[in-house]
Amino acid sequence: MSSLDWLVLFSTLGAIVAYGVWKTRGQQDMASYLRGGYQDKWHTIGLSVMATQASAVTFLSTPGQAYQDGMGFVQFYFGLPLAMIVLSIAFIPRYFRLQVYTAYEFLESRFDRKTRQLAAFLFLLLRGLSAGITIYAPAIILSSVLGWPLRLTCLCMGGLVIVYTVAGGTRAVSQTQKHQMVVMLGGMVVTFIVIVMRLPASVSLRNAFHIAGSLGKLNIIDLSADPSRRYTLWSGLLGGFFLAMAYFGTDQSQVQRYLAGRSITESRLGLLFNGLVKVPMQFLVLLVGVMVLVFYQFNLPPIFFNQPELARVYQTPHAAHAAALEREHQAAFARKRSEIERLDAALDRHDEKSIAAAEQAVRESEAVFASIRGEMKQVIATALPHPAIKDADYVFLSFVMRNLPRGIVGLLLAVIFCAAMSAVASELSALASTTVIDFYRRSLRQNASDAHYVRAARWFTAGWGVLALLFATFASLLDNLIQAVNILGSLFYGTVLGIFAVGFFLRRVQGTAVFFAALLSEALVLLLFLRTSVGFLWYNVVGCSAVMLISASVTRWPGFRKPRSPAACGMDTQRRTTP
């Protein structure tokens, strides 16, 4: 990396962190530290919500996913705008009316303490694990590509986040995230423009789309009704809706972002802004991956994008085989490039017959090209003791390091660091809030001063940060861990959303009924996971629907039913003063 890149990277990160700390200096009370002092305007909330969701893996993996599998992943986000509308109508007013610090306080107000602490515990478990992964996953890729020690990379990212999150609490998180999100969006737009400009002069944007389409990468919409297919229009709309409802409506790392709003209006506008911008943003990130693919039709790509892993193969007896494959790869690339140039020329002539013939030739040469890459992966798998043969996560960063101009490389690295830091900051702040409000203040120290709880929140933020760092620093089973955290999340989100949905919409259902229904629904989701191949997005639909149906049904049974009285009819009339 050039000195200009280092300058851009460190000045961007330093300026954002310094601004966040300066802007939030001198905060003393809980309302400031845990709810941001109710000062955030809609654009801060919207950008902060987006930055919380966009981890570094979003910017590292998503372009690589588009490079390898096309743009179908964008369907995953189709339910999100609809969820933002429902949350604005149903959830935000109720959270604001109760003046909660955490989403789980609502559950005690509506049901009982055990339901509140069950949901809070599930959040701490899932988010605590994922905070470590949020640091570790990008760190292993960055350290591999940049040649930095893994632990130092984890410490740099995590340490900086802990400092400003402990110092400034929720408001520091929102203030830094606002600027981090601007850097992320700006960085991706700049990258897209640079890639398009680096295509050969004869290749127009329209032709670039056509080439990507010929390679099967513009298959954005899948209308299949097969539930085992992971991303379809229907799973995106319905499963994605339930997932977004659960994530944005019940996950404290998101709820905390919009609870910091200056008013209900600002919080609602912030969520609607997210609903408006999220799908185009993900489309852009995926499109960058597709444009990288088009770029590599005219420029030789690495045979394997995780170059340090490939270098290890050359230290083994399989080096000669690997070198032969690299030569074969270069020859196949030359043939494919000439077919792509024929296609480009045919597109310019608008000659349909030549276009069809050239497309067929491109697909055939691409198949040969892909088979050589596949053979190299087999060599890596044979040659190395613990091989990492999936290289999709390395596609984008490898492209950035090799092909983007000086300064832009630093900006893109700043994007990735910003994404990692913003997601971790939200997680740490939410973990600390939930620990203090739902456990420490509720069950251990009920009547301490505001200053005491702020001090406790600072310590818990630092504690969760150190725990996440330890997890990230000593984790060594990357693939398995990420998979485990993703599966855990999707297994429990539907049930947790169901508990909240019953609280909001089924006013006759009481705590014991919903608790019983949640246990049964969880068993059902686990059964689906263990015994069927149903895509994970559907778990959210099944879990939530099952909690609502079962709790509504068992409420009719003796023992689950309470006499109808104003106090039993829900939160609006039930203004308990839980600590």
Partner: protein, 47 residues
């Protein structure tokens, strides 16, 4: 829960600074519909 007074009833029903709430919800849902239509068109045009 926080000790601050709950927001006034009128704040719960405050109008947005631009358009109406129904208009904003239609805008978000309409944008999604337009995006899906565009994506279907791209899928069909470049398959």
């Amino acid at each position: 829960m926080a000790n601050e007074p709950a927001p006034a009833r009128q704040e719960l029903h405050a109008a947005p600074p631009f358009l109406t709430w129904t208009g904003l919800y239609c805008l978000v849902a309409g944008a999604l519909l337009a995006e899906i239509t565009l994506f279907i068109a791209i899928t069909l045009a470049y398959r």
